[in-house]
């Protein structure tokens, strides 16, 4: 019965319609806005559960497909569908949005209805990005998503918010317009003029064509992830964004870039990806090592977590582009599967951990109105419950075994050993550096003597905050201790992807 419903459409449009309703209905009082937002985000979460329960893990084919003609003269279609790569990310999106709604409950002083509406509309658009199988539909969601984020940072952000949000918008927009040119080019290469992503996968393209298209995609996705050296918008955006904005940005938006690599770059331009994988791998390793050092030096907690996000995303891109080297060495793709799966696990896990850490900073910021590390110290004395959550998430961020942070990193490091010892060596430094910046922050903020009056007067978590952090803690431990269900759903899709890219296209 459930499979009869257009689940993906419901997932995309329920939050968007909810957001529009909040805009119109919530203008009178903000209480209604919060309630409506909670109802619609919970409804979306509930609707997304069948994606997991009814998911067929044995096939790499697209599931829950929906197809309707949208712009017939250009052969652009409303085509949705998911596989094992996109499904976990959709669940992550609907889960994190609910937490953002709860975490913002009655905390927004200015135009709460617009704030909640922005988040819900963004949720729908992000789910759209993950489920679109038509390139133009994908692009529309991808770009439209920038508008609510632009407003969230700009309206509810910190003192330097205008600079940060315009930088965020222009950077991402600059990246994506070249992708648009590439998509139109691909469209003109298909025999019947189609924007179907799956048709693009089958196109045979010359080496030069692939190189150009790969670079166009790379610009778009590298900015979004963000990879070193086009990462500079991220710390600015994170520092200025309100807590909810940071959470969505880190937990989901960054993943969209990595998803783009898996859905577009690798299958459409496998030979160019192969030829340029050294570039991506180097940039990833620079991100892991160099950005981790940068993170250590931060005095602002949000900035620190932002840099740690860039470093962790370095693992994701490393895992995605490692298969070619393994394939060259061993001649089989099976050894490489660990790297890509590790990357996806890392994406999901980082979604939980970064969301949790930004929420933790938000909890402190709401009480003390400072994000500076030196304004804190000895928080454990006044907020013991909070302190235990924060320590758990910091440990997860450092990749402690038993937490989700460990699983993804371990899988990626393991597979990079198969490729090249030095890849693994540099990737492995994260275990030290990650621990250094995460734990050193925790030491300075949480432990020690009570630093000042502000900290002394802190009140521990409210029920609302315990629910939010608690559910994230459960997910972090669940994925950390029992990652099998997550890996299982993506296995067939990743296998097929690797099979696809091991065949040259020309």
């Amino acid at each position: 019965m459930i499979s009869e419903l257009p689940i993906l459409s419901l997932l995309v449009w329920t939050p968007i319609i909810g957001g529009l309703l909040i805009l119109t209905a919530g203008a009178k009082g903000s209480d209604g806005a919060y309630r409506l937002a909670l109802v619609f985000s919970l409804a979306t979460l509930l609707l997304s559960i069948p994606l997991y329960t009814d998911f067929d893990v044995s096939t790499h084919l697209m599931q829950f497909e929906e197809f309707a003609s949208w712009i017939p003269v250009l052969n652009i279609n409303y085509h949705l569908g998911i596989d094992g790569i996109s499904m976990p990310l959709i669940l992550l999106t609907s889960f994190v949005t609910v937490l953002v709604v709860i975490a913002s409950w009655k905390m927004i002083e200015y135009r709460a209805a617009q704030y909640m509406a922005s988040f819900l509309i963004m949720e729908g658009l992000m789910i759209g990005v993950f489920s679109a199988l038509d390139a133009i539909l994908f692009y529309v969601f991808w770009e439209a998503m920038l508008i609510p984020m632009f407003l969230i940072i700009g309206i509810w952000g910190g003192p330097n918010r205008i600079y940060a949000t315009i930088k965020f918008f222009l950077y991402t927009f600059l990246g994506s317009v070249f992708m648009l040119v590439a998509l139109v080019y691909l469209y003109l290469q298909t025999s019947s003029g189609s924007f179907e992503v799956l048709d693009f996968h089958l196109l045979s393209l010359s080496y030069t064509e692939q190189m150009f298209i790969f670079v166009a995609f790379l610009v778009a996705f590298a900015v979004k992830i963000p990879m070193w050296p086009v990462h500079t918008w991220l710390p600015d955006a994170h520092v200025e964004a309100p807590t909810g904005g940071s959470v969505i940005l880190a937990a989901i938006m960054l993943k969209i870039g990595a998803y783009g690599f898996l859905r577009f770059s690798l299958p459409i331009t496998p030979d160019a990806s192969h030829a340029l994988d050294w570039l991506i791998i180097s940039l990833s390793l620079i991100a892991v090592v160099y950005i981790s050092f940068v993170a250590i030096a931060q005095e602002d907690m949000k900035k620190l977590i932002a840099y740690s996000s860039i470093a962790h995303m370095g693992f994701v891109t490393l895992g995605i582009f490692i298969p070619f080297t393994i394939y060259e060495k061993s001649g089989v793709m099976s050894g490489a599967i660990l790297g890509v799966e590790g990357a996806i696990v890392q994406m999901v896990s980082h979604g939980f951990i970064s969301a949790a850490l930004f929420l933790c900073v938000g909890v402190m910021y709401e009480r003390v109105h400072s994000r500076k590390i030196r304004d804190y110290g000895g928080v454990v004395n006044t907020m013991p419950v909070f302190a235990s959550f924060m320590v758990l998430f910091a440990l997860a961020n450092a990749g402690l075994p038993g937490t989700s942070g460990f699983v993804g990193e371990f899988m990626v490091i393991l597979s990079s050993f198969k490729a090249n010892f030095w890849f693994a060596f540099f990737a492995g430094t994260t275990l030290i550096l990650g621990a250094a910046y995460s734990l050193w922050m925790v030491k300075r903020v949480i432990f020690g003597a009570v630093a000042n009056d502000n900290v002394a007067s802190l009140k521990d978590l409210q029920v609302r905050e315990v629910i939010v952090l608690g559910s994230l803690a459960v997910m972090v431990l669940l994925v950390g201790l029992w990652p099998a269900p997550l890996v299982e759903v993506m296995h067939a899709s990743v296998e097929q992807l690797l099979e696809h890219i091991s065949n040259p296209k020309f």
Partner: protein, 477 residues
């Protein structure tokens, strides 16, 4: 050769507009200031009836009338429908503004009607003579409209500048036409096209082409013939700017299509290169200089220039896909410009012109609804989905990538990103800044409704652009 009666029925809309313009002129002379609404209503009814006449007499076939001087075709009909629509909206938006400034006079409507007649003649021109006739009728009406607020030194200066430069452009056009006539011996665009294709020495025709392109570029406002645009947009009173920046753009597109495509397609290789140059310059200058503006009318003027650059890209692709992309671009641009200039009129009130960018500060606090409407318009101009501005850029990109001008596509999107910056600045002022003056918006209900429909149409067309794209494609092929 006797002229068939059928020809007259096919130009019924033109005849009707002419008669109504004369009628309103007379009626307006006899009614007092208290009854100016009569001429306003008559004008609006004229547009509705003209649209009905055009629709009713449209056959979808290409029919050449009056011994080859005039043509009714699908492209012309679609453009005319949108010219009526744009003009209708212009008069609707302008009403309050003109009333509060004691400028609500019948001449405004009459001049507008003559300008529309000029556009219609231009859109349907099939000979050099009709092109020139339509263009002059349009231009002379516009010169007078720019100077309409005769007590404003700024308006008069703008009108003077417009007139002098416009006369120069007309002169260039005439000179080019005379050379073309001398080379081919005909005024009929179809005959010219055949003659030019058969020329052994195309040099004189190419010389003519350069003059003609200069005139087209002037009318469109492409760099380096753009200098009048910011000054005239800025100097003219806002309703005139609104008119100037919308419907005549459709006519200018038709001018380019009639002369370059209908008349000079054999010289495609030559005019393509010139148009590339114009487009490259327009995209760069328009987008970069717009950043430096503090007056929103000037900013939108430079933004027009950059949009013209995109529009030229479609034409220079030189195939049906490109022409229909340009046509779609022109139509959607007109809809966006109507909304954007309309928003300035909405915020203006007696003694206060909302023409500075600063005047948009904190609009979200004053009126979240209209801030959202302006947000849609700005993102649409920037080409961000889900607004219709995205599809107009997409179609143009598709057309030029199809003819292997990929570098040009990359160039165009790069400058589109630069363009985003100044559109974002408007959004930023509305949403991120606090209002300077908190007085409420005073506009009447019909204006509010129309502007909301205008902006929502941009959003709706952005979600379902298919039918409008199909109309443009059908109109060209």
């Amino acid at each position: 050769m006797p002229i068939p009666v059928m020809d007259f029925t096919l130009i019924a809309p033109e005849i009707f507009i002419l008669l109504m313009a004369c009628l309103i002129l007379v009626v307006d002379a006899y009614i007092g200031d208290d009854y100016r609404d009569v001429s306003y209503v008559l004008t609006q009814v004229t547009f509705i009836v003209a649209a009905w006449l055009t629709w009713g007499s449209s056959t979808g076939e290409t029919e050449v009338l009056f011994s080859g001087t005039y043509v009714r075709d699908a492209m012309g009909d679609v453009l005319k429908m949108f010219i009526y629509l744009a003009s209708f909206v212009v008069f609707l938006y302008s009403r309050d503004y003109l009333k509060t400034r004691k400028l609500f006079k019948g001449e405004f409507q009459v001049l507008g009607l003559f300008a529309v007649l000029g556009m219609m003649v231009l859109v349907s021109a099939h000979s050099l003579l009709t092109v020139y006739l339509g263009l002059e009728l349009l231009s002379l009406s516009l010169y007078a409209m720019v100077a309409f607020n005769r007590d404003s030194a700024q308006s008069c200066e703008a009108a003077m500048k417009y007139f002098v430069l416009g006369a120069l452009a007309s002169g260039l056009l005439l000179y080019g036409m005379s050379i073309l006539y001398g080379t081919t011996g005909s005024l009929d665009l179809e005959v010219i096209s055949n003659q030019v294709a058969a020329l052994e020495n195309p040099l004189p025709a190419m010389l003519a082409l350069m003059f003609i392109i200069a005139a087209i570029a002037f009318k469109l406002g492409a760099v380096p013939f753009h200098m009048w645009i910011p000054d005239v947009y800025h100097g003219a009173s806002t309703p005139v700017t609104l008119f100037l920046g919308t419907a005549p753009k459709l006519a200018a597109f038709a001018l380019a299509m009639r002369l370059l495509v209908d008349g000079l397609e054999p010289l495609y290789e030559q005019w393509r290169d010139v148009l590339i140059l114009l487009a490259v310059l327009s995209l760069a200058i328009g987008n970069i200089v717009a950043i430096a503006q503090t007056n929103i009318k000037r900013m939108l003027a430079y933004s027009t220039i950059s949009h013209v650059g995109f529009l030229l890209l479609g034409i220079l692709a030189g195939n049906a896909a490109g022409y229909s992309a340009s046509m779609f671009y022109a139509i959607t641009y007109v809809l966006m410009a109507l909304g954007a200039f309309g928003m300035i009129l909405l915020l203006s009130r007696s003694g206060f012109e909302a023409e500075e960018l600063e005047d948009f500060k904190g609009l979200n606090d004053k009126s979240p609804w209209f801030a959202f409407m302006m947000l849609i318009l700005m993102f649409s101009m920037a080409g961000v989905p889900p607004t219709v501005g995205f599809y107009s850029k997409l179609l143009v990109l598709r057309a030029i990538i199809d003819v292997d001008l990929i570098w040009l596509a990359a160039y165009a999107v790069t400058f589109a990103v630069i363009g985003v910056f100044y559109y974002l600045r408007v959004v930023r002022l509305m949403y991120f800044d606090k209002p300077v003056d908190t007085s409420a918006i005073e506009s009447r209900m019909d204006m509010r409704m129309a502007l909301s429909i205008n902006s929502l149409a941009i959003l709706l067309l952005g979600i379902f652009p298919g039918s409008l794209i199909a109309i443009c494609i059908d109109a060209i092929s």
